[in-house]
């Protein structure tokens, strides 16, 4: 395993269940309306090699509200465009005085590479198809606002699991706490091998089967361009896998509907479902702030 600086957050897979609970408890004590200046004088670099709205803004708000200074580096307009390597970029930011690096990168494992060579905490804000740990934590936080515990909870994750770092992180987290996860989608998006990711995961090709009696429905964005050249056509996909009000009725009455965003209304779900009372999609975004406050506070050793 990668030797990373204390406080780094590289993946959910290698995080102990106790650490996850610690982070969730810490997040509950974070009040974005009345934040404590835990990071006063700290410099947090947001190093984003990919576009992002939610993750970037909520890390930035989280850091700034606790008194940290933030610096945003994006691929365009920086020396990354001139061909500077990831590690050289990391060394440069360290030299400028960064106390932590929040990294979003299109390549799986990029945060591990950075963490293995730099002595400040590295926080994975999404790496390729690998993991998106802060999203899994805010999803867990959101679930626990509505459900008593993870153990025995039925969770259906629907859509393009193969390309999804959100799904991988969610599976690891839910599995660690004994939830029963059902992955649902066509074979191109939900290959058989997905069931090997963690204990307690099963697959189905039928949305009705995945949704029936479930407590949580997690929908994933389907990129139209990824359907190109696949065996399944867009219309077929919508016909078989779109979350509609009728299909939602198969779930438990108190089931919640989640989506990491960006939502494509009319594709993976109807507008009605996105806006229905069971939808917690907007809450997820809001919960991103206290959860990322907790992640940053832990990174800087201020987890009090």
């Amino acid at each position: 395993m990668t030797k990373a600086a204390r406080g780094s957050l590289l993946s959910i897979e290698h995080l102990e269940a106790a650490e996850i609970l610690g982070l969730l408890k810490l997040a509950r004590r974070m009040n974005p309306a009345k934040p404590r200046a835990l990071l006063k004088g700290k410099r947090v670099v947001l190093l984003f090699y990919e576009p992002s709205t939610r993750t970037r803004s909520s890390f930035e708000v989280a850091a700034k509200s606790m008194g940290a200074m933030t610096v945003l580096i994006q691929s365009s307009g920086s020396s990354i465009e001139k061909g500077e390597s990831l590690l050289d970029t990391g060394y440069t930011l360290r030299a400028v005085g960064a106390d932590a690096i929040v990294l979003r990168h299109p390549n799986a494992g990029a945060p591990h590479l950075m963490a293995a060579h730099i002595d400040i905490p590295v926080i994975n804000a999404g790496d390729g198809m690998h993991e998106h740990p802060s999203q899994a934590l805010l999803d867990a936080y959101t679930i626990l606002r509505h459900k008593r515990a993870f153990r025995g909870l039925q969770v259906a994750i629907v859509g393009d699991i193969y390309h999804s770092r959100v799904a991988r992180s969610a599976c690891h987290l839910l599995s660690k706490f004994g939830a029963r996860v059902t992955l649902c989608g066509p074979p191109d998006f939900v290959p058989e091998v997905a069931a090997t990711l963690a204990p307690g995961i099963r697959l189905t090709r039928h949305l009705e089967e995945a949704v029936r009696g479930t407590d949580v429905i997690m929908l994933l964005r389907v990129q139209k361009e990824r359907l190109a050249g696949r065996k399944i056509k867009l219309d077929d996909y919508i016909g078989r896998y779109q979350m509609t009000t009728a299909r939602l009725k198969l779930a438990r009455r108190d089931a919640i509907v989640m989506h990491p965003g960006p939502v494509i209304r009319g594709l993976e779900l109807t507008g009605d479902v996105a806006d229905c009372p069971q939808s917690v999609i907007v809450q997820e975004v809001a919960n991103g702030v206290p959860v990322r406050m907790a992640i940053l506070a832990r990174a800087m050793g201020k987890a009090k």
Binding site: M1, T2, L87, G128, R168, V193, L197
Partner: protein
Amino acid sequence: MDPASRIDAPMDVLLRDGHVAEIAPPNKTRGGADEKFDARGLIVAPGFIDLHVHLREPGQSHKETIATGTAAAAAGGFTSVCCMPNTSPVVDSPEWVNWIRQPERGAVVNVFPAAAATHHSKGAVLTDFRRLQEAGAVAVTDDGRPILDEAVMREALRAGAQLNLPVIQHAEDARVTAHCFMNEGPTSFRLGLRGMTVAAEAEVVDRDVQLAQMTGGRLHIAHLSTAEALKPVRRAKRAKVRVTCEITPHHFTLIDENVGDYNTNFKMNPPLRSAFDREAILVALADGTVDAIATDHAPHALHEKQVEFERAPFGVTGLETALGLAITQLHRGHKAPLARIVELFTAGPARVLDLRGRGTLARGSFADVTIFDPKKRWTFDAAKSRSKSRNTPFDGLPLTGKVVATIVAGKIVHRES
């Protein structure tokens, strides 16, 4: 120990004028020697031959040179290496084949170049096999890339057949492995990396075996890595089709899970496969399906490998660890006789490339000798490698079996201090 001559006994070997002058029971040689090498307790074998190395010249001397690569070969017990043509520029002309063989390159072991099978290794237009062979090429290949076009591969085998020149295939259906960086399976899924399927290798091998049968050409499968690809090779051998294959030490030692947290020193092509594939490879090494152990020594500079896994170049070094891994894994781990291992390093590869007078210690053959201690325990330290590069997955690994001396044309080119 000379499997080609079925010799496995204490013997004296007399080398004279670059050749084996005599091989006889102890103190029974008729001629005298100016210099003696006391190899009691050690194995004296024909000089090892590596069918598959990347010496990176011309054009990529920051990774390796012919001088440093052959120094690493000598340290690993190899007296002959076959270097691949995927350099910069690609070795697709007699002039470049000739350039590699010049004494100025500073090779300390025999270098047998493989030339490109197609212009610029683009897989479209065949090179002039006859002129390449006359310049010293011992095989043709587009290694690093496959020859995918069926008509081109068929013509290559047909042209090779007329010259008795083997065509080496890098068996990978590159149409389905684009943007894939490791073996397809639970580990690639977990790491979020696109996987190369077993079929992408096996289907090319299967097709090429049929083409070899059709044309009578000599087909050699480089770095075979899957159980599925062994099937057509076995079938071909039973049908007496001229098909040979090689296995690398990393494929008989490691599996895809060893990639760990994106360690780029475990990234090569073909990728590390499943435990199931590794088991099948171990069986094939023992039962004679495999003709040779070849390292696919592929040096890369540190800054090239210290990048995101998906961006790192494929390849690992392997010349200095091959014998230790073979003895540790195959002999000690899986009870393969030492004579079989020696055969895979000597008579087997000599047969693949039809290198006359090499891979044996029979009287009259070249005075290429590898002397090793099969019981010596040691730990590989990449920092002390003779190669210019350090991209090995075996740094710090304890091994059993070490080269004591390497003799090329009667001269000691490496001696363990």
